[in-house]
């Protein structure tokens, strides 16, 4: 039992170092040099009120808004307190039927032809704020009609809100649905 003393004391010392000093140090430095990111990248709307984080998607279903990816979070979609995916297996009949319903809903909303996968398949976190460039394009006609804009005007706005690959080669080009919709609201 000679080793019991170092076992207990080392545990205490490392709890202080790794569980106290280390996270406190990271928090201190982070809030000094990256205060906005450390706080959650919140965006503000009218009268400087916080209207959400640019990293956390929100649900949209009205015709005048661009629609995000489906979300499988518990109770209601895009619930930030219940992050997670559907965990549906690829051959699960209920899952195939759900995707079929989503494809039909898009066709009913005026989308013709093939449907981009990201617009009918749920994200991993259930909070994915982005959709692909293709998924934005199939929605431009609908949003333009609902807002009384021309498709050219809207396409320009979308292009200005398209994030390219990071450093020109990492990741996918994408559009932040929340940021774009907030911008659309602010124009009218």
């Amino acid at each position: 039992m000679k080793e019991l003393k170092p076992a207990i004391l080392l545990f205490i010392v490392f709890t202080v170092i790794c569980g106290g000093i280390y996270p406190a140090l990271v928090t201190g430095i982070a809030s000094a040099i990256f205060p906005k990111q450390a706080g959650g990248s919140f965006i503000t709307g009218a009268s400087n009120r916080e209207i959400g984080s640019r990293l956390i998607g929100q649900p949209f279903s009205e015709a005048k808004y661009f629609w995000p990816r489906p979300s499988a979070t518990a109770v209601f979609g895009f619930n930030p307190l219940a992050s997670g995916g559907s965990n549906a297996g690829p051959t699960n009949p209920a899952f195939i039927a759900t995707v079929g319903d989503r494809v039909k809903a898009l066709h009913d909303a005026g989308v013709t032809g093939g449907v981009p996968a990201d617009l009918v398949e749920a994200s991993a976190s259930g909070l994915d704020p982005h959709i692909s460039v293709e998924a934005v394009h199939v929605q431009i006609a609908r949003v333009a009609r609902a807002r009384g804009m021309t498709e050219e005007e809207l396409s320009k706005l979308v292009a200005a809100h398209t994030e390219g690959r990071q450093f020109g080669f990492l990741g996918e080009p994408r559009v932040n649905v929340l940021v774009l919709n907030v911008k659309l609201d602010s124009l009218q």
């Binding site: 080793e3 982070a30 959400g52 990293l55 929100q58 219940a82 559907s86």
Partner: protein, 594 residues
């Protein structure tokens, strides 16, 4: 894979390989007690710490004492974490006033974090307070990783030393691994992650209004808490409007860095590394993959340096790298093809269910093979929703025993067990005396290696079999048919091999999985660990046999191929029947259009 994805993948591996040499040599200096550029800062801290804890840094231990210290240390850690989880509601830094864990869940979680598994049968944002995350789970992320590395280093010393029973001092190895390796890298990596948008604060959760109110149908419950049905037997629902949502906060970046670096994998949030607050950009994504792979790959260099022949380390690295890249290629290929059942409905593109858009498909697939090739288990996509063959890749990487390149430390010692077996078998085949690194491989070494590589396999097959006849275990499946078997097989494989990722549809917070899972994690971690320390003790006592004409060279390319085959053959013989009933049947069904 488009050209951007190819470029990113190639650059990633070049950068990783470029870091193996300097970083692996640095780790060798750390464990050999030599000066490093951090010594002026850390030596005083280290000395103070040894004095406080009553550790004599020059007092070395034989294998039994080393193993005893390791087990005792882990027992103390496990008991302390169990206590924190059971008392969470009384402890500070709990702005959401989260309640205590139930005891089976607390037991499972405590064992899970102490064994470097980080299997999570709870959802972080709704179950764990900031205190639990930092002072409980975060501390174990450091110490379970340091434990794994210490065991690997003791095994290397067994190969290096001659005619001695001493393998080093466990407390010193733990301390130096944490102070010189894990803490400095975590600190820098955490800050880079914050720059990308990973949060780091102690605020209470924030409530924000939705831009567009949403609504959903909420099932009504009767007085007994069961779903209320109408006359037609359909559930009665009420339409509820959601006008605001609550966004969780917390000290995430500090946890995220060590969770990847220590190949722990326990997410701050339920969605783990797919959550935008854990992994907001492609850069943070590739950085996290780098952190996962860095120590396991660099330890092969540490091994090469310490045994005095870096080529021995490169041979092991070649085996790991080859199997990892091959797995990545298959996963990327099948996921890019999409799901034929959905293609028929008019869906275009890769299989995106359970994936995040920003990471790109190749980036996502690289993360998933890295996290299951090591014993990390963090996920940036939901493995349950991969295509059948796609899902079989992470499952197989786990089943092969976590050595491609494996967890921090545990990967190296499992790989060395396979190398010992490969040397022995080839020695028998070509009539040479089996020697590895100048040490004769005899009965005791073979026994310990076999115990190391077969323990997890036996636990997986026995417990999966038990799960199939336990109604409670079967009821936890989320998907019907062959996929349900894959979920159970994955869960038990993940726990027995210290991985911690899941086919997460399975409801794991059930008595069966909590308690038998804890058993699987304990056996899967400590039986091989003690067996490898026993082998280290036996090797250290042997004399050095200088290489002769009769010695099989183990630092040449042909030898690298041989352990690769041994790994694949042992894996296939053990698990092919189970895999053919799960993912392979499902793949055939999917192609058949059902």
């Amino acid at each position: 894979m488009n050209s951007y994805e190819l470029l990113a993948t190639v650059l990633f591996f070049l950068l990783l390989l470029a870091m193996v040499r300097p970083f692996g040599s640095y780790m060798a200096r750390v464990y050999q007690g030599e000066r490093t550029f951090l010594s002026p800062l850390l030596v005083p801290c280290e000395n103070m710490l040894y004095r406080f804890c009553g550790v004599n840094r020059d007092e070395e231990m034989d294998w039994k004492r080393y193993a005893w210290a390791m087990l005792l240390c882990n027992l103390v850690l496990c008991a302390a974490l169990f206590a924190i989880l059971m008392l969470q509601h009384l402890l500070p830094l709990n702005p959401q006033q989260l309640p205590a864990f139930t005891w089976p869940l607390a037991l499972n979680t405590a064992v899970s974090f102490v064994t470097n598994t980080n299997w999570q049968a709870y959802a972080g944002e709704s179950a764990a307070s900031y205190f639990t995350q930092m002072a409980g789970l975060g501390v174990h992320n450091f110490l379970s990783a340091a434990t794994g590395m210490a065991i690997a280093i003791a095994l290397i010393r067994g190969f290096v030393r001659r005619k001695t029973s001493l393998l080093g001092n466990f407390w010193v190895d733990m301390t130096r691994g944490t102070l010189y390796i894990l803490l400095p890298i975590s600190l820098v990596a955490a800050l880079v992650l914050v720059s990308q948008g990973v949060i780091q604060n102690f605020s209470a959760y924030k409530t924000v209004p939705l831009v567009q109110a949403a609504s959903y149908d909420k099932p009504l419950l009767d007085a007994k808490g069961e779903a209320l049905m109408d006359a037609d037997g359909k559930p009665v629902t009420e339409n509820v409007t959601v006008r605001e949502v609550t966004i969780p906060m917390g000290p995430v970046a500090s946890q995220e860095a060590i969770k990847e670096l220590g190949t722990n994998g326990g997410g701050f949030f339920n969605a783990n590394s797919s959550h935008p607050f854990e992994n907001p950009t492609p850069l943070s994504h590739y950085l996290e993959i780098m952190l996962i792979l860095l120590i396991p790959f660099a330890l092969t260099r540490t091994f090469g340096v310490m045994v005095g022949n870096p080529r021995q380390g490169w041979a092991l690295l070649a085996v790991m790298l080859f199997l990892l890249i091959a797995s990545f290629g298959v996963l990327q290929g099948v996921e890019a093809n999409g799901n034929p059942l959905l293609t028929k409905l008019g869906v275009q593109g890769a299989n995106m269910e359970g994936k995040e858009l920003r990471f790109s498909l190749a980036g996502t697939c690289l993360f998933e093979v890295a996290t299951t090739g090591t014993s990390c288990g963090a996920v940036s996509a939901m493995h349950d929703s991969l295509t059948p063959i796609g899902g079989m890749i992470p499952l197989s990487l786990i089943l092969l025993g976590e050595l491609i390149p494996g967890g921090v430390g545990s990967g190296l010692y499992t790989m060395l067990a396979f190398a010992v077996i490969a040397v022995f078998v080839s020695g028998l085949m070509i009539g040479r005396t089996p020697e590895y690194l100048g040490k004769k491989i005899e009965g005791r070494e073979m026994w310990m290696s076999i115990v190391t590589i077969l323990t997890a396999g036996i636990v997986v097959l026995v417990l999966s079999g038990a799960a199939m006849i336990a109604p409670a275990a079967v009821a936890s499946m989320a998907n019907p048919g062959a996929h349900g078997l894959s979920e159970v097989l994955y869960a038990i494989a993940s726990m027995a091999n210290s991985n911690g990722s899941a086919f997460a549809g399975l409801n794991a917070n059930a008595g069966f999985y909590n308690i038998l899972g804890a058993l699987a994690m304990l056996l899967g971690r400590y039986v091989p660990a003690v067996a490898m320390l026993a082998m280290a003790g036996s090797l250290a006592e042997k004399k050095f046999v200088p290489p002769s004409l009769g010695t099989l060279p183990t630092d040449k390319a042909p030898f690298a191929l041989w352990p690769t085959l041994v790994i694949l053959i042992v894996g296939a013989l053990t698990f092919f029947p189970a895999l053919s009933l799960g993912p392979i049947v499902e793949h055939v069904t999917m192609l058949g259009g059902n």
